[in-house]
């Protein structure tokens, strides 16, 4: 279900140029990733090929061994994680257990200095947006797996990131729920026209989510 890009000349979103990822013992690359602003790009590859490391490197959690990470034409390679403005949803929801659902969603806003009540209100709106109205006061361990990932999505979107990375966010869920949630999340992301990269090993999930589907193996070819 590829869409026609809106503007005549699509603007470059999040990109990687000759990016080498890995550590002392294992490397992959040079990789070239190109995405278009406002589109969802899926990167498909088998487990252990380095998809997660690629996302972690784009987010700044892992350092790039060489090459560049660019967002809207700006070089982010040396910008620390918390200044990149790139949100991420992980395989596990990783909701902070000492905070309730609302405080989890408000976490990013609080780090930007937004005051508590404004952040809470914004968090409530985002919970509405992901279909969990009134969940703000719930404890994180009272959520189902699907609900927890929705909260994780709301949390990642709260500080208005300029791009969003999704690292197999549905892999812990069963097949039915996974595809349904993938479709819903794709709709939500499109409603906000956010640039997103979604990595997965599941072809059906990739097609349920993405505008563009790439193979991880093809990233080295360019």
């Amino acid at each position: 279900m590829n869409r026609e890009p809106g503007p005549p000349e699509p603007e470059e979103g999040l990109a990687a140029h000759d990016l080498v990822i890995g550590n002392r013992f294992w490397q992959a690359g040079p990789l070239n990733v190109r995405t278009t602003t406002g589109q969802i790009t899926a990167i498909l590859g088998p487990s252990g090929c380095g998809k997660s490391t690629l996302l972690a490197t784009l987010a700044g959690i892992e350092p790039a061994l060489s090459g560049q990470v660019m967002l809207h034409g700006i070089d982010l390679t040396d910008v620390p994680v918390h200044h990149r403005g790139i949100g991420m949803v992980f395989q596990e929801p990783l909701l902070f257990p000492h905070l309730n659902v609302g405080a989890n969603v408000a976490y990013g806003l609080r780090r930007q200095g937004v005051n508590k009540s404004v952040a809470a209100q914004h968090a409530a709106e985002l919970l509405d947006w992901v279909g969990l109205p009134g969940f703000a006061d719930r404890a994180t361990d009272s959520l189902s797996g699907g609900q927890a990932q929705r909260v994780a999505l709301a949390r990642a979107m709260a500080p208005s990131p300029r791009a969003l990375l999704l690292d197999e966010p549905f892999s812990a869920l069963d097949t039915d729920l996974r595809l349904r949630l993938a479709g819903e999340v794709a709709e939500l992301l499109r409603s906000r026209s956010i640039t997103a990269i979604h990595v997965t090993h599941d072809l059906a999930e990739a097609h349920a989510m993405a505008d563009v589907v790439e193979q991880f193996g093809d990233l080295t070819a360019r």
């Binding site: 987010a59 700044g60 620390p80 994680v81 949100g87 990783l94 257990p97």
Partner: protein
Amino acid sequence: MTVLPRWMRVLWIAPAGFIVAFVAVPLWQIAANALHDDALQTLLSGSTWHVAALAAAQALLSTVLAMAVGLPLAAVTCYRFPGRALTRALLTIPFVMPTVVVALALRSMLGGALPTGIVAVVIAHAWINVAVVVRVVGSQWARMDLGYLHAARCLGASRLQGFRTITVPFLRPAIASAATVVFIFCFTSLGIVLLLGDQHTKTLEEQILRQTSVLLDLPAASALALAQLLVVSVALILGARAISTTTYRPTTAALRPLPASTGGRVALFSCAGLGAIGVLAPVISLVIASVSSAHGMTWQWWATLNSVDAGTTRIGSPIAALGISIQYALITGVLASIIGVIAAISLLGPRIGRWIAGVSILPLGISAATLGLGLLLAYARPPIDLRGTGLLVPLAHSLVAVPLVVAVVIPAVRSLDGRRLGVARSLGAAPTRAFVTAYGPTLAVVMVAAGGLAAAVSLGEFGAASFLARPGTPTVPLQIVRLLGKPGEQPLAAAAALSVILAALTLTLVLLVDRLGRRVGA
């Protein structure tokens, strides 16, 4: 559960009887004495609570310093680097060192630079208890899923904010329990306070000893013991409250790779190095002190350890105390390992047994002086006078050791694979034989390890022994303290030499226990 053969299901009576006879009865004696008219005045008097306040302030300072030094070191032990195991082992040394040896080691390192009083006491307490912080907080820290931190960083948290908002809440229960343990240790400190303190560092523990052995006012001593129990209980309750129930799903402790940045590595290695130096320097100074005199290096202090003239009693040399200590340590090792292992095995039995296993940890919260005083009141005067038997000190040491033994044995008992028992039974073994076949080998190793641990505790124990040992038969720590009270160069050097022997014995035992413990996964 049908794990235990029938006759073993009543074994819990042994530890239960032990606890009743040697903890409950003595505590009751203390309470009975303390609720006496004059004693009540002591309990309610301003000076008692003045000492309690001084001790609490001292314990708070000590806890803060131990945390300040221990937390960075706890973080360091979460990384995988060459020398990590050694660093961790070194950092544990101060905690297993007898307190009088610690005091002497710090004194011989800092000499005149170490003013007696609050500074010296706080430094010594922190030096000992950094190990608690490193062990308790470090093992929790290593279990933290770094994913939470990554998530926080992606949401715009700086490194520092991530630490404050994610790591600190995660560590809070571990920090609270370490702080509680350290606070109680410092609040009820005796040996350090006697050797390094002044009139501003009194503890109730020290006052209990003074009332008992100098002023011979047992009711007043009982009142002080009661006051101390009250404060310790409050600390335990506050601590238990701070150990909140937030459940971070712990991941299996996986050591972290070295930080990528040069700065990070330099920081890590300098922390580890400073920690190691901080531990080793006083120990080395102690060894040097035992072979130095005003005229240079000498072995004369070691050579005269055997002479009666060098001792503090007319009948024994400094080395004679070693014989007494070893004898007590052997009795303690046997007694505490039997009681402790039976208490831990009770976990496998009926409900009451499980309850006993829990209760047997209780003496941990009761100070050495309280145990000593209680035993003195209950069993050192008619109708039951055990002073002549030489059993009082090992009994007290067993009380101190049993909780530690139980804490070491319980994980081993929990890890026993019940299926082995089923296999043995299905092959036709009778219940007792099946139990021995399935669990015997593990329990035998655990028993030896537990005995070694108890013996190590006994060797270094000072508080209870100072109440119960008879003047003619001092244990090594008592002998060291007495030597330090004598003027001149020789007693000090003899104390240092004796301390070196005691420290070496204790460390050897602890190393052995650690080895054995690892073999059975305890």
